[in-house]
């Protein structure tokens, strides 16, 4: 039941998050904004179109969107969904989940390079750099959770329990970190600006400049899914361990939408960082994961 719900949520909640972000930004800017499900309709529209494909490109360009979407979608099947239930769960599934995202990223990067465009190369380069910083913090964080809980599966890992202040500390530090990662991977301000029309300042959008039609739809859906993934992680992390099932079912969408609202607020209130300052910002995630680790060691009984 929960699994089916998970999959159903996957199909539209990501779009809804995009819509909400947009709406929040619009409201903050004194505008009305487009309908909440507009991103969904945009995607549907794109799917009905043909594609313009650069003659420079090869099969890599053709398979990358489908591959990226398939990998991201599979990763989402592993991620903890409603009430921390996963569609697929096994020991160490978090590794597979994150590495599937890596696979998606790999093909998006080389597909960008496949076009032979300087702009897309630039986007790829930046995208890769930011992942370099984000990835270790995720693993350190996951390892820390495993260190404390002794569990190995995504849902169990993110279900914090134990005495003292550990769940509070871990949940707050983790949530902040995950939210920062959400902004990064979801290509939001202050890291990236999906709405700009100046190619030089974009990251993710500039990577997919040459994609069109269904390819573009796939890639945008994949991007939305990825953002949604981090929202689910935040939800899984901050929910108390012993929450009743029915509450849990509502908790995830609520948290996801709250994340979207928050992201929208951030976008409204902050300006985009200079690209060269982004890494410093991202090191914050590393710091947070290390703090969590230190806390974990402390709560386990100190260094011995």
């Amino acid at each position: 039941m929960a699994r089916t719900l998970n999959i159903l949520l996957l199909l539209f909640l990501p779009f809804l998050m995009l819509g909400i972000i947009n709406r929040v930004k619009a409201l903050a800017g004194g505008r009305k904004g487009f309908p909440l499900l507009q991103p969904f309709f945009d995607t549907l529209k794109l799917l009905r179109k043909g594609a313009v494909v650069s003659t420079v490109t090869s099969w890599v360009f053709a398979v990358a969107p489908a591959l990226a979407l398939a990998a991201t979608f599979t990763a989402l099947l592993i991620a903890p969904g409603v009430g921390r239930t996963q569609v697929i769960a096994f020991d160490g599934d978090i590794v597979l989940c994150l590495y599937l995202l890596g696979l998606a990223k790999f093909f998006q990067l080389i597909s960008a390079l496949d076009t032979g465009s300087a702009f897309e190369g630039m986007g790829a380069s930046r995208e890769a750099l930011f992942s370099v910083i984000v990835e270790p913090s995720l693993f350190i964080f996951a390892g820390t959770l495993a260190l404390v809980s002794g569990h190995m599966s995504f849902g169990e890992l993110f279900s914090l329990s134990g005495g003292s202040a550990w769940p509070t500390v871990a949940a707050s530090a983790g949530a902040i970190m995950l939210f920062l990662i959400l902004l990064t991977e979801g290509c939001r301000i202050p890291i990236d600006d999906p709405n700009t029309h100046l190619e030089l300042t974009m990251i993710h959008e500039v990577m997919i400049l040459d994609n069109s039609g269904p390819d573009l739809a796939f890639l945008q859906y994949a991007a939305a899914l990825k953002m949604y993934l981090f929202a689910t992680l935040i939800a899984a992390l901050i929910l108390p361990a012993d929450i009743p099932a029915i509450h849990a079912a509502f908790a995830l969408p609520v948290v996801a939408l709250l994340c979207a609202v928050l992201a929208g607020l951030v976008e409204s209130l902050l300006a985009r960082f200079r690209i060269s300052h982004v890494p410093q910002f991202l090191f914050l995630t590393v710091a947070l994961s290390l703090i969590t680790l230190a806390a974990a060691i402390y709560f386990r009984g100190g260094v011995a």
């Binding site: 160490g92 790999f106 465009s117 370099v132 495993a146 039609g213």
Partner: protein, 658 residues
């Protein structure tokens, strides 16, 4: 064992007999016999892995007297790796060598077969002298293979560098062995375990051995020879050197861990730290390279580092009695080791095909190869995905097992060990993502986009044998990636030999189940991808089909191929970030005057160990040597003076009652 010995005999026969075969048939003959020998040896090794240890004692004349060949799980595992890598390498190599019809190749093939034999012997002999003998032969034959391209100064320098590095490694290994040997009174490895009662002695001896083996394996800071030797060697040799030979360094470390039992904490941590540094710094250096084969060489350092991480974790596990770390750390290391031999072979072979077609290894001169060499490009991309540790290929499996070992081991590790393990996971993740970065660069800049120079114009896919050699590897990469359980079982057989609290086989059962789950998810993913791709094509067809166009230039119409992102611009954000550690040196010729005639900007990668360890060391030695410049001054009286002074000093010493 019979199969194994038959295999070695066949290889020796291949080495000798090929010289008698007429040149047109020589390569085919050689390939046939060598592959047969390797299959036999590999079968022998596999049988041992399944059935248990076998050994055979030879009584030989001086200097060996008694020599034991033994296939225990560890040896068999490495012998199997060598055989597998050797088969692909031979097939590819024969194709590669086919491009040199004017050369007789007798010597090269001879060295090639003996190189394989010596590696097989290295992992199976069980006494100091015979081990060192095989070890040095291995270095020697690889050296001979290395200078295939004789007219090149770079090759010469790399050869000398390699020779000296190998000798330093040998000296260290020799010292370590001798320490054990004199304590135990015998050169037999088996007797060494008896002398372990003195931990500080054992630790010293092990550290010396580790340093020696680390040179061969290419751990940072012992790696200096590696990025020079690999690019200089012809590609089929680089593939073997990087894919297989450096693993014998790992073998040495593992063999001695097996003998010693539980190492000291300090030793375990040293291994782990060296491994982490190797993996992270190795991949950073790989990122900085402009030379495709140097990039691959540094990436070998990274992967050896990953293997080392597994070994280090396992050692720490042994120290603190942590089952998952021991078993899965070791298993992960072994799996990654096999995997690396497969995909690194594949990548080097791809680079070799590329070099043959374009005569350049400079990444910035390539681009758009995929249109001209589609097979090579496909195989190279497969190798790249695998080496980045991404599912559904084999690279993922080794790293997955390592993560599993850390995630399941950390909770049972007390205090700071737990933190160390978690940080190691972070380091492995960093390595993984950097490898991804690095190999998107390798694939993307080299194979995709538009051609950056006319070196690319003549590029064509190589002939059958080379593609066949690569295809074998690519196939293995897929099979292990999707169905890792058999390899895992073999690795567990080896890992179970290490001190493990409890029943290793039982502890491995849940992991097999987990790997099964992984396989299923990956199959699901592949089906999903196939489905989506099908849908995508249908949708596009339904939506008006594909309209070809030029790449969107953001309104700029005069884009040229040279304006594409280059290898160095692709990685430049990271380079600025990692600063001096990476040491990507830049030369800028600033524009001068009102009408600047010429400006130039160049970037060239540095290696910290070369710059701050090797070069000053060499300088110091040169300086010390120059202090003795006066000795051979040419003045005869001075020559006689040396004798007189020696005499006087000796007499004073004697008269002083010595």
């Amino acid at each position: 064992m019979t199969f194994f010995l038959a295999g070695i005999a066949t290889l020796l026969a291949a080495a000798v007999l090929q010289a008698a075969v007429p040149r047109p048939l020589r390569l085919a003959f050689f390939a046939f016999v060598t592959v047969a020998g390797l299959i036999a040896a590999g079968t022998g090794a596999l049988m041992t892995l399944l059935n248990g240890t076998e050994s055979i004692l030879f009584t030989l004349p001086f200097p060996f007297e008694r020599a034991t060949l033994e296939l225990d799980p560890l040896s068999a595992f490495f012998a199997l790796t060598i055989s597998l890598g050797g088969i692909a390498g031979t097939i590819y190599g024969v194709g590669y060598l086919g491009g040199y019809p004017e050369r007789s190749l007798r010597g090269h093939l001879f060295a090639f077969a003996l190189f394989l034999v010596s590696m097989l012997l290295v992992v199976t002999t069980r006494a100091v002298l015979s081990f060192l003998f095989a070890w040095e032969l291995m270095s020697l034959w690889s050296l001979v293979l290395l200078f295939f391209d004789r007219s090149n100064d770079e090759v010469r320098d790399a050869t000398i560098n390699y020779f000296v590095a190998m000798h330093v490694a040998f000296a260290l290994i020799l010292t370590g062995f001798l320490l054990f040997m004199t304590r135990s009174g015998s050169g037999d490895f088996a007797s060494f375990s008896a002398v372990m009662s003195d931990p500080s002695f054992t630790e010293t001896a092990l550290l010396i051995l580790f340093a020696g083996f680390a040179i061969k394996a290419g751990f940072i800071p012992f790696h200096s020879w590696l990025p020079k030797a690999h690019p200089a060697a012809p590609s089929h040799v680089s593939g073997l050197m990087s894919g297989i030979m450096i693993k014998t360094g790992i073998y040495g470390i593992l063999r001695f861990t097996l003998i010693v039992g539980v190492p000291t904490t300090r030793f375990a941590i040293i291994v782990l730290v060296v491994a982490i540094v190797s993996s992270v710094v190795g991949v950073l250096y790989a990122l900085a390279q402009h030379d495709l084969k140097r990039l691959l060489a540094y990436s070998s350092i990274e992967n050896i580092g990953i293997v080392g991480i597994g070994i280090g974790l396992s050692m720490i596990g042994m120290r603190i009695g942590n089952g998952p770390l021991i078993l899965l750390g070791m298993t992960g290391a072994l799996i990654h080791l096999v995997n690396h031999s497969l995909f690194k072979g594949l990548l080097f072979y791809g680079a070799g095909a590329l070099y043959r077609a374009t005569h350049t290894r400079d990444i910035d001169k390539l681009g758009g190869i995929i249109g001209r060499m589609p097979k090579t490009a496909l195989l190279f991309i497969i190798g790249s995905v695998a080496i980045a540790g991404l599912p559904p290929l084999n690279g993922f499996i080794g790293e997955f097992v390592l993560y599993l070992s850390m995630l399941s081991g950390a909770p049972h590790a007390s205090g700071s060990y737990g933190g160390l393990v978690v940080l190691t996971a972070g380091a492995l993740a960093l390595t993984g993502i950097l490898a991804l970065y690095c190999f998107t660069k390798a694939c993307g800049i080299v194979f995709l986009g538009s051609p950056r120079s006319n070196a690319v114009e003549t590029a064509r896919d190589p002939g059958g044998a080379m593609i066949a050699g690569m295809t074998i590897l690519a196939f293995a990469v897929f099979v292990i990636g999707l169905y890792p359980a058999p390899l895992f079982a073999l690795a567990v057989t080896v890992a179970a030999g290490y001190p493990y609290p409890g029943d290793a086989a039982a502890a491995a059962m849940p992991v097999v189940a987990t790997l099964g789950s992984v396989s299923r998810v990956l199959l699901l993913f592949i089906l999903l991808f196939a489905f989506l791709y099908y849908i995508r094509n249908r949708l596009i067809a339904g939506g008006g089909g594909i309209a070809p166009a030029a790449t969107w230039g953001c309104g700029y119409r005069h884009g040229t191929a040279r304006m594409q992102y280059t290898a160095s611009s692709y990685v430049s954000p990271l380079m600025t970030l990692s600063g001096r550690l990476l040491g990507l040196g830049t030369d800028l010729e600033r524009p001068q005057g009102l009408f600047p005639a010429r400006t130039a900007f160049r970037s060239h990668p540095h290696d910290l160990v070369d710059d701050y360890l090797i070069a000053p060391g060499a300088k110091l030695i040169r300086y010390l040597f120059s202090l003795l410049r006066w000795v051979q001054s040419g003045d005869m009286a001075q020559y006689i003076l040396y004798g007189v002074l020696f005499l006087a000093a000796a007499l004073v010493w004697i008269m002083g009652g010595n």
